[in-house]
């Protein structure tokens, strides 16, 4: 018994030594074992999901049996191309996503600039908490809060009435969606812009001033280019989050987004997953083009 246990202990020790020797001799093996599991999960969960989505977009649904037919074809894309309604919905989704992104850039930039370069450390902490605070509450709760604010007998009209101003009717319109989206995704713009602005060394700005540049020129030719990667990173968040959302349109809008059509096809009688997959390719393609353009603009080199 004792002898066997000793032998076993010796053999595991030997194996361990051989293993560490192998790792030492082949550094790539070390990298593989460390990166392998996360990369595997990434491949299995993320890439595989997109691959399945992509493949099923070319399948069709048998209208009689409701079964998915695994024949390759472009029928779904043909429908999307020919029916005006899908163009209109995609155009609306992309348009509002772009409007939200621009709005968030305009709102976030001065705020982030103040936080990064002007505020005292203590004020900065307070502002940070204020920016992050809404993220602690449920996204749905915040949307419902906006519903109450914007509704016909809501807080906004009550306030306007108190000031003797005319009532607004923006509840359940595209304007309402624009406001709510801009509000909800604002922190996702402020944080990357802040990070970019904070990283600009003071010496660069001083050098610009020493060379005779006025404040506006310094801002335009030094600060803005250096902050651009942050703005682009933030815009990727706001744009893609709006593009993929379907809950806000249901709750505060009166129209459909791409996501709503996808949802209807997944959760409808037709259960037309191939068509839903095909339409889901549209935001993917739009994001792909957006990322390529961002890369062309050099946004990733500065990251």
């Amino acid at each position: 018994m004792a002898v066997r246990a000793e032998q076993a202990g010796r053999s595991t020790r030997a194996a361990r030594r051989r293993l560490s020797a192998a790792f030492w001799r082949r550094p790539w093996l070390r990298g593989l074992t460390q990166l392998g599991p996360p990369a595997g999960i990434f491949l299995a969960v993320y890439i595989a999901a997109i691959a399945v989505l992509f493949v099923s977009a070319f399948w069709t649904l048998d209208p009689l049996s409701g079964e998915i037919v695994h024949d390759w074809g472009f029928q779904n894309f043909k429908t999307l191309w020919e029916e005006h309604v899908y163009w209109r919905i995609a155009g609306r989704t992309i348009g509002i996503a772009a409007a939200v992104t621009v709005t968030d850039i305009i709102l976030a930039f001065p705020f982030a600039y103040f936080m990064a370069r002007l505020a005292s450390p203590r004020l900065r902490t307070v502002l940070f908490v204020l920016v992050l605070l809404p993220l602690w509450s449920s996204y749905l709760a915040r949307i419902y809060a906006w519903r109450l604010i914007l509704s016909s007998d809501g807080a906004l009209n009550w306030g306007l009435g108190g000031l003797g101003l005319p009532h607004q009717h923006i509840a359940y319109t595209n304007w309402a969606m624009w406001i709510v989206f801009s509000y909800i995704w604002l922190p996702f713009m402020i944080l990357p812009v802040y990070a970019a602005l904070e990283r600009i060394p003071d010496s660069v700005i001083e050098a610009s001033r020493d060379l005779g540049a006025r404040n506006r020129t310094t801002f335009r030719r030094v600060i803005l280019p250096l902050a651009l990667p942050g703005v682009v990173a933030g815009s990727i968040f706001t744009f893609s989050l709006t593009l993929g959302d379907y809950i806000t349109p249901i709750l505060v809008g009166n129209t459909q987004f791409i996501g709503n059509v996808v949802y209807r096809n997944v959760l409808g009688l037709s259960y037309d997953l191939p068509f839903a997959a095909a339409y889901a390719m549209v935001p993917l393609a739009v994001m792909g083009i957006y990322l390529i353009l961002a890369r062309r603009a050099g946004a990733f080199e500065a990251l």
Partner: protein, 396 residues
């Protein structure tokens, strides 16, 4: 053989039979065809008694169908803990039952979902003999075509009622009498209708009275021309809408916050809003109304069939029927509920038509699944897929 084992054997035999039925219904006949058809003629083997509750019951229901008033006493009496999920449309109910697997035991399906569930093999036959109140049901709901096929009962009828026109009495004057109010540009931005393709039938019903030359006789059986007319009417209505509502509570919010003053609705919203002192009334306009007749159906994959039977028995009793009828504002299937309704709230039996003659039941165009088969030998009717596509287009 222990009792438990025998019961398990019985259930699995029944599951096999239902499975075989579904096999035939799906039309994939093949080798097992002859064998299964024998079983069909004999009818499925149904439980002959209700066993002890399994302690759990999971329901897919319309909002307002699983109120604590009658769920709490049920849980206490049977030990079956009820969890319920509200669905906003028949489509959602069908999808939940199909994809939920054994997650949901029962569904309160309307006529436009029940046949789909039966044909899809998602629900199993039930034995009405285990429901003591079944003989008291109105005749029209004992074996209605939406839940009974070839004499096999796929579920037990529950309640029924009309889809109504809801309006704010202070803001809509004079009081509406016709569905035309919902298509009137005078009320632009104040109208809400359900986000549900079956709404095309409401437009078709209105057209059947206002444009008789279209020849619409059944709002669920529309040929291309009739269908296009209904879809066009809804497209013209689209700019007038404040919003499409998806859950009943959405419409309640819209009326409560003053965003909508007119809408297609269920009596449930009227009752809830009236209880909140919102000045609303509803009516069945002169063109008549579409409506629903709901059935509690048992999932073919249910793991808690005893609790399901106990629940069906419970909701069929006159007291619970009356409670639910008054809460939701609908008509009970059980004729014995009328007296209790009047006890709970004087005049409610008449208000919710629980004492109405059979002709009232016949005047409502109950929801059913639109099929290509028009029922008159022709097969040029628009099927539900086309209804859904048109609905996406109408919403824009």
């Amino acid at each position: 053989m222990t009792k438990q084992y025998r019961r398990a054997l019985g259930w699995s035999a029944m599951a096999l039979v239902v499975g075989a039925l579904a096999f035939v219904a799906a039309g994939c006949g093949g080798g097992g065809g002859s064998n299964a058809s024998e079983t069909t003629t004999e009818g499925p083997s149904l439980p002959t008694s209700i066993g002890k509750g399994e302690g759990k019951l999971s329901l897919v229901a319309w909002e307002g169908y699983t109120q604590p008033e009658w769920v709490k006493p049920f849980e206490k009496a049977t030990g079956c803990k009820v969890t319920s999920k509200y669905a906003g449309s028949s489509d959602e109910m069908v999808t939940l039952m199909r994809q939920g697997g054994s997650q949901y035991d029962m569904v309160s399906a309307s006529g436009d979902a029940s046949v789909r569930l039966i044909k899809g093999g998602d629900v199993q036959a039930m034995n009405p003999k285990l429901i003591p109140d079944f003989p008291n049901f109105i005749d029209a709901l004992k074996s209605p075509s939406h839940n009974t096929i070839d004499g096999v009962h796929y579920g037990i009828s529950l309640q029924w009622g009309p889809n109504t026109l809801l309006y704010n009495t202070q803001k809509v004057k004079p009081a509406p009498t016709s569905w035309s109010t919902l298509y009137n540009s005078k009320y632009k931005g104040q109208i809400t209708i359900p986000d549900n393709p079956i709404q095309i039938a409401d437009a078709a019903l209105y057209l059947s009275k206002t444009k008789p030359d279209l020849g619409i006789t059944d709002p669920y059986e529309l040929n291309q021309k009739q269908f296009d007319a209904a879809v066009n009417l809804l497209k013209q209505q689209r700019p007038l809408l404040k919003k499409h509502w998806s859950l009943a509570s959405d419409e309640i919010d819209l009326f409560k916050n003053g965003d909508a003053t007119l809408g297609a609705s269920w009596p449930y919203q009227t009752n809830t809003l009236a209880a909140d002192k919102v000045p609303v009334k509803d009516l069945i306009p002169k063109e008549g109304a579409t409506g629903w007749a709901d059935t509690w159906m048992l999932s073919s994959k249910s793991k808690h069939p005893n609790c399901a039977y106990l629940w069906t028995k419970w909701v069929s009793t006159p007291k619970v029927q009356a409670q639910q009828a008054i809460y939701f504002g609908e008509t009970p299937a059980n004729t014995k509920a009328c007296a209790i309704m009047d006890q709970l709230s004087a005049g409610s039996c008449k208000q919710y038509h629980a004492d109405a003659p059979a002709s009232y039941f016949d005047s409502i165009k109950f929801w059913k699944t639109p099929l290509a088969d028009c029922g008159n030998g022709k097969t040029d009717c628009m099927d539900y897929n086309q209804w859904q596509q048109a609905w996406t287009e109408i919403k824009g």
